[in-house]
C-alpha cells in the first residue's frame, strides 16, 4: 500500500462529500431543483429591484427629493395641479429648485398609445444637438426615447400627428431610467395646449437644500401641503412604492420568493429524509460506535447544507441569466432597466441557503434522532 498524502486526511468534509457522491443522481436532481427555484425567485425579485433602482438613479440624477402631486389619485399620471403654485413653492425655506412636468398618454396614427412628457423650456432634458450647438426644443418639435423609436418605428426627421397637430421628431432622447426610453418629449406649453391642460401640470419635482435633517424635510412637506388641500407630497421612494408596475412585479416577486423557498425546503427535506431512511443502519452503526446523537445529526445537517449551498451558487447563476432575459424582454415592451446585482443580493442568496438548509434539515434530523440502534441493526 502507498502511504500517500491524502490517505491520512479523512475528516468530516471528506465523509460528507463521500456520502453525497454515493447518490450522485439524487444530489444532482436536488441541487438543480433548488437552483431553479432560487434562480426563479431571484429573477423576479431582481427584476423589481432593478427597475426600482434604475428609477431611483434616474430621479437622483435629476436631483429630485420630493414630488408634489394631486391628492387622492391612485394613478399618479392622472394628477393635475396648477402650474401657478410654483411661485408659492419657491418661497418655502429649504427648497433649492422646482421643476414642473406634465405627463399624458396620446394616440399615434398607428393607434398605439404613447406617453408624452412636457418639460418647460430651460430644463436640461429639453435640449438637443442641432448641428454643432445644443439648443432648446421649439414649438412643434419632439424628442423620442430609443425604445419608443423602435416600438413605433419612428426616427428623428419623421413627422407625426398627435391630436390633429403636426409634430417633428428632431432627435433621440437619452433616457436615464426605466420608463423614459419609451416616451416622447415636447415643450410643456405645447403639451398643455395639445391636452387642453393650460396652466396645469402633473408633478412638481422639488430639489431640497443638501444636508437637511429629517425634521426639516418633514417641515417642508407640511408647508407644501398647507398651500392647498389638493396637494400631496411624496418622497421619490414613496412614489416608486406607489408605482403600479414596480409594485406588481415586487408583489409577484415576493409570492414567488415565498413559494419557491417553501418548495426548496420541501425538496431538500424529502431528499434527505429518503437518504436518512436508506442509511438507518449506517447511522445506527455510528451511534453504536459512540457517535453522539448531536454528532450524527450534524452530519445530516452538513450534508443538507452542502447541497443547499451548491444550489444557492448555481441558483445565483440561474437567477442572473433569468434577470438578463427578463430585462431584455421588458425592454421590448418599452421598459428600460439595467440589471443591478449587489452585495445585498449575494447576502440574500446566502441567507436563503442557510434558511433552506436549516428548515430542510429539521425533518431528516428528527428521523435521525428517532433511529433505534437496536432495531436498525437488526434490519
Amino acid at each position: 500500500m502507498k502511504r500517500g498524502v491524502s490517505v491520512d486526511r479523512y475528516g468530516v468534509a471528506t465523509l460528507i462529500v463521500d456520502n453525497i457522491k454515493r447518490r450522485p443522481l439524487r444530489a444532482v436532481i436536488a441541487v438543480l431543483s433548488i437552483a431553479v427555484a432560487l434562480g426563479g425567485a431571484m429573477t423576479m425579485v431582481g427584476t423589481s429591484e432593478s427597475i426600482e433602482r434604475t428609477l431611483e438613479k434616474g430621479y437622483a440624477s435629476r436631483r429630485v427629493d420630493l414630488m408634489v402631486m394631486q391628492a387622492g389619485k391612485s394613478n399618479p399620471m392622472t394628477s393635475r395641479i396648477s402650474e401657478a403654485l410654483v411661485d408659492d413653492l419657491e418661497r418655502i425655506e429649504g427648497i433649492l429648485g422646482i421643476q414642473a412636468l406634465l405627463v399624458d398618454s396620446l394616440l399615434l396614427e398607428s393607434d398605439h398609445s404613447v406617453f408624452v412628457y412636457g418639460w418647460p423650456p430651460g430644463y436640461p432634458e429639453t435640449r438637443y444637438r442641432k448641428g454643432t450647438d445644443s439648443v432648446e426644443l421649439e414649438h412643434g418639435q419632439l424628442l423620442i426615447g430609443h425604445t419608443a423609436s423602435s416600438l413605433n418605428q419612428l426616427m428623428p426627421g419623421d413627422e407625426i400627428e398627435l391630436n390633429f397637430g403636426k409634430y417633428k421628431i428632431v432627435d433621440f432622447f437619452e433616457a436615464g431610467n426605466v420608463f423614459e426610453s419609451g416616451v416622447l418629449f415636447m415643450r410643456l406649453d405645447d403639451l398643455q395646449k395639445l391636452t387642453s391642460s393650460l396652466g396645469r401640470v402633473t408633478f412638481f419635482f422639488v430639489e431640497l437644500e443638501p444636508g437637511l435633517k429629517e425634521q426639516s424635510r418633514r417641515r417642508i412637506i407640511g408647508d407644501i401641503e398647507a398651500l392647498s388641500p389638493v396637494l400631496k407630497v411624496v418622497t421619490t421612494e414613496e412614489f416608486l412604492n406607489q408605482n403600479q408596475l414596480t409594485a406588481a412585479v415586487r408583489g409577484l416577486g415576493r409570492v414567488i420568493l415565498f413559494t419557491n423557498a417553501l418548495l426548496s425546503i420541501l425538496i431538500i427535506s424529502t431528499i434527505m429524509v429518503l437518504t436518512v431512511s436508506e442509511r438507518r443502519k449506517e447511522l445506527a452503526i455510528l451511534r453504536a460506535m459512540g457517535w453522539s446523537a448531536i454528532r450524527v445529526s450534524t452530519l445530516v445537517i452538513l450534508e443538507t447544507s452542502v447541497l443547499s449551498a451548491t444550489a444557492a451558487v448555481l441558483g445565483g447563476v440561474v437567477g442572473w441569466v433569468g434577470l438578463e432575459i427578463a430585462l431584455a424582454h421588458l425592454q421590448t415592451m418599452g421598459i428600460f432597466s439595467r440589471s443591478i446585482l449587489t452585495v445585498e443580493h449575494l447576502l440574500w442568496l446566502s441567507a436563503s441557503a442557510v434558511a433552506i438548509a436549516t428548515l430542510g434539515a429539521a425533518l431528516p434530523v428528527y428521523y435521525t434522532l428517532n433511529i433505534s440502534v437496536n432495531e436498525a441493526l437488526r434490519e
Partner: protein, 219 residues
C-alpha cells in the same frame, strides 16, 4: 473487588408475552472473559443488548462500571465503557477497512492524521496491514470481522461484548479471530463477554455461563 457488570433479577419481556430473560442475576469482574453459551432463543443476544445499553430491562437492576446503566449518558457509555462486535460485522460497506476503524475514532480524536495512524496500527496488529484501503465489500468474512474487532477496541473500552463473532466465519477464520481476541485480552487484561454456540470460543474464556429459556442454568 467491585464487579464491572452486575445484573440482579433482570427480566426482559417483549409485548408482555415473550420472556427473553427471566430473573437473571450475574456478576462479571474486571479482566474476566465470559462465554454465554446456550441454544438459539436462550436470551444470549438480549443479555448483551441490555449490557450494551441498546435495550432496557423490563425489571431488575443492571450496573456497569459502578453506575446503574440508566445513570450513564448513552453516548459516553458506548464510547468509553463498551465495545461491541456483531455477528454480521456491521461495517460501512462503501468504506475501506481503515476508514471503518477511523470512524470510531471521530468522537475521541480530532486530528485526521492521528486517527489514521492509530487505525493503521490496529489493523497491522491483526494482520491487515496490506488491506487498509480495500473496500469492506471486497474483504473476506474473516477480514471483515477483524476490521470490526479493531473498530470495537479503537477507543479502548473497558468491556468488550461480542455476539456470535465467529457465527459467519469458516473454521480457519474463526481460529484466527479467536487467537486475535485471546491475544488482546491477555495483553490488555480487558473484560470480554461473548455470546456463542461455538465450544472453541468458550475455551478461550475463563468462565462459561449457560442460558436456557432466558434463565441462567449454570455459571
Amino acid at each position: 473487588m467491585r464487579p464491572l457488570v452486575d445484573l440482579q433479577n433482570v427480566c426482559r419481556t417483549f409485548g408482555g408475552v415473550i420472556t427473553a430473560l427471566d430473573d437473571v442475576s450475574l456478576s462479571v469482574s474486571e479482566g474476566e472473559t465470559i462465554a454465554l453459551l446456550g441454544p438459539s432463543g436462550s436470551g444470549k443476544s438480549t443479555l448483551l443488548s441490555l449490557i450494551a445499553g441498546f435495550e432496557t430491562a423490563s425489571s431488575g437492576t443492571l450496573t456497569v462500571a459502578g453506575k446503574s446503566i440508566h445513570d450513564w449518558h448513552p453516548d459516553e457509555f458506548r464510547l468509553r465503557i463498551v465495545g461491541f462486535l456483531f455477528q454480521q460485522f456491521h461495517l460501512l460497506e462503501h468504506l475501506s477497512a481503515v476508514r471503518n476503524v477511523e470512524l470510531s475514532l471521530f468522537p475521541t480524536c480530532r486530528q485526521p492524521r492521528q486517527r489514521f495512524l492509530k487505525s493503521r496500527q490496529l489493523l497491522e496488529d491483526v494482520g491487515l496491514g496490506e488491506r487498509l484501503l480495500v473496500q469492506a465489500t471486497d474483504l473476506s468474512g474473516g477480514e471483515r470481522q477483524r476490521v470490526a474487532f479493531c473498530r470495537s477496541i479503537a477507543n479502548q473500552p473497558r468491556l468488550l461484548l461480542a455476539d456470535e463473532p465467529t457465527g459467519n466465519l469458516d473454521r480457519a477464520s474463526s481460529q484466527r479471530l479467536l487467537s486475535t481476541l485471546s491475544d488482546h485480552m491477555l495483553r490488555h487484561q480487558s473484560t470480554l463477554i461473548v455470546a456463542t454456540h461455538d465450544d472453541d470460543v468458550a475455551r478461550i474464556c475463563s468462565r462459561v455461563i449457560r442460558l436456557q429459556d432466558g434463565k441462567v442454568v449454570d455459571s
